[in-house]
């Protein structure tokens, strides 16, 4: 008779939840790529596949009262934050049941309930928004954290440097999270940065900084918890550089001439989902059957999201000019 597997510990249950979140992002986006080819999704589509550990790890350290400001590669950030997969998929379909009524699309995902302030397609342009949200919290005496995600490309923008300086100068509760996937679109870090150790830049602004393995969700979560505690404790901003890698092309129009297949394959060996599931298996906290069940639950969740988007409706063209200005007169 087979030995009864040990009950997972509280920690292991938490890690299994993290694994499930990463798997949901992965499978959701794989479907997005298919739906793009099927012309259900249009515009730009930037996939997060490979980078799931970053947003899943960071979001695990945040609470619902905190605010998140995201990038244009933000499906993973949105799902990890708890944005409904159906509303997200419907948004990419351009349906009015989408989280932004189809006004934003893939690059502009917003959600009030989870304090998810977008999806921003101007690289670096959303960083000051997080600093402003943090300023509002500080001025109103609220102990909340504003977390902004941005890529290594944004570190070359003035918005990053101006924001780091002001957030530090005013001791604002901001968590700066750099998803360093080594390429600003197709320009390698070594071709765009004089100092490629991005975490080192925090010192110039007296911002507590740390670089972490962005392919290891537990390492990301641990570093993020430490940073969030410090930020929430009123010690000013923190900067977390998560060293990660995007497995797919930059967008659906990218021939990937700027990197080798060998490099991509090398990074795939560090797949955050494979790493965590292997670790949980080794700990006997996750049986093959458990993982298969997780896969089928996630597949159903993605299918439900697609069905929701398919069943969605088109906003009447008569509504085109709504939401240019607020419909209520006073703010």
């Amino acid at each position: 008779m087979k030995k009864k597997p040990p009950q997972p510990t509280t920690d292991q249950e938490h890690w299994i939840r993290l694994l499930r979140q990463m798997l949901l992002i992965r499978r959701f986006e794989e479907k997005c790529a298919e739906l793009y080819s099927a012309t259900k999704i249009r515009g730009f589509l930037h996939l997060y596949i490979g980078e799931e550990a970053v947003s899943v790890g960071v979001m695990a350290a945040l609470t619902p009262v905190d605010a998140v400001v995201a990038t244009y590669r933000e499906h993973g950030q949105a799902l990890a934050r708890g944005v409904s997969p159906g509303a997200l998929m419907a948004e990419m379909y351009g349906k009015q049941e989408g989280c932004c009524r189809g006004r934003g699309g893939s690059m502009h995902i917003f959600d009030a309930a989870t304090r998810f302030y977008g999806g921003n397609a101007i690289v670096g342009g959303s960083i000051p928004l997080a600093v402003g949200l943090a300023l509002a919290d500080k001025m109103q005496g609220r102990q909340r954290v504003s977390c902004c995600f941005f890529g290594d490309g944004a570190v070359a923008e003035g918005a990053f440097h101006e924001s780091m300086n002001i957030a530090s100068l005013w001791k604002l509760p901001v968590l700066f999270v750099c998803e360093n996937n080594l390429y600003a679109m197709g320009s390698a870090l070594r071709y765009t940065q004089a100092v490629t150790d991005l975490a080192a830049k925090g010192a110039g602004y007296a911002v507590q900084s740390e670089a972490v393995d962005g392919m290891d969700v537990l390492a990301v979560e641990s570093a993020a918890r430490k940073a969030v505690d410090s930020v929430r404790g009123g010690n000013g901003p923190c900067f977390l550089e998560c060293r990660t890698y995007r497995f797919r092309a930059h967008s659906m129009f990218d021939a990937e001439l700027y990197r080798t297949k060998e490099e991509v394959e090398e990074w795939k060996k560090r797949d955050p989902i494979l790493q965590l599931s292997a670790s949980l298996r080794a700990q006997e906290a996750l049986a093959d059957a458990d993982f298969e069940q997780m896969e089928s639950e996630v597949a159903r969740e993605v299918d439900d999201a697609i069905a929701f988007a398919e069943a969605g409706t088109w906003e009447p063209v008569d509504d085109l000019t709504r939401f240019v200005y607020s419909e209520r007169r006073t703010g």
């Binding site: 000051p128 600093v131 924001s163 002001i166 209520r328 703010g331």
Partner: protein, 333 residues
Amino acid sequence: MNGAAETIKTTYREAVRQGLHDALRRDQRVFLMGEDVGHYGGCYAVSKGFIQEFGPERIRDTPLSELAFTGIGIGAAMGGMRPIVEIMTVNFSLLALDQIMNNAATLLHMSGGLFNVPLVIRMATGAGRQLAAQHAHSLEGWYAHIPGIKVLTPATLEDARGMLWTALEDPDPVLIFENQTLYPLEGELPVTAGPVEIDHAQVMRGGSDVSIITYSASLYKALAAAESLAAEGISAEVIDLRTLRPLDDDTIMASVAKTRRALVVDEGWRSGGISAEISARIMEQAFYELDAPVERICSVEVPMPYARHMELAALPQAEAIVAAVKRMVPTHG
């Protein structure tokens, strides 16, 4: 307004200051943020003494980071505050244009109505002080091109005093352009002066032969021109647009329907400017009312020069307005 209301002699600068002071006292969520607004007292001295009265949290000196502090204003507005961002000069606002256009004007729409941005941005604009080509342009017409924001151009003491609070109550971003030559302008302001509506243009002088449509500092040139035209028997109506976005078409068309001639005076450049927009609207909405083509007096299309005589030549002047009106209005018998 009660004609018998008691007035005090004051300046445009003082009126702006009063509006700011009033807003800061009315609402704890209001704060002023920008370069040198605090310890220096404001580049144009409109916030002198505020840091002592309201403290450095609410009168917040910023680094020279226009992009970031404008974006921070947007974030703070979404976070429940009512920020007033001051940008020292309109040319500097170009460093913040990304935030104004790609975020402030756009977030409400991109988010499908989820997140509005109740932000006010004030900035000095305009030429006439020999500040040359990087401190003296009139770009408010440019900004008026952008859906999602409102563009106010207070010319009078009443508007300098009263537009700010109304802008702060607006749920969406409002840009207020203060022409820097107006700060020393003296005039009478009722002691009871307070918030004013921002939805309508105002007929500043009634007339029957031509409508001179203008805004901001050019208003005074138009009024001076109307005065000298009156001496020659030509009756010019002068309209202060007050708000460039949204434009008050009704007031413009009602005036044109009466006078049958329109002259637009705009300190911005002619090509693709707000004067072109106004002219096009008159053509679209009042073509059959017109007895003459719409004319425009705009700044000459050069970067603003430093030398006094050249700067004066580059700007619309009362003499040019008079000459244009005389071309448009048939000689009286």
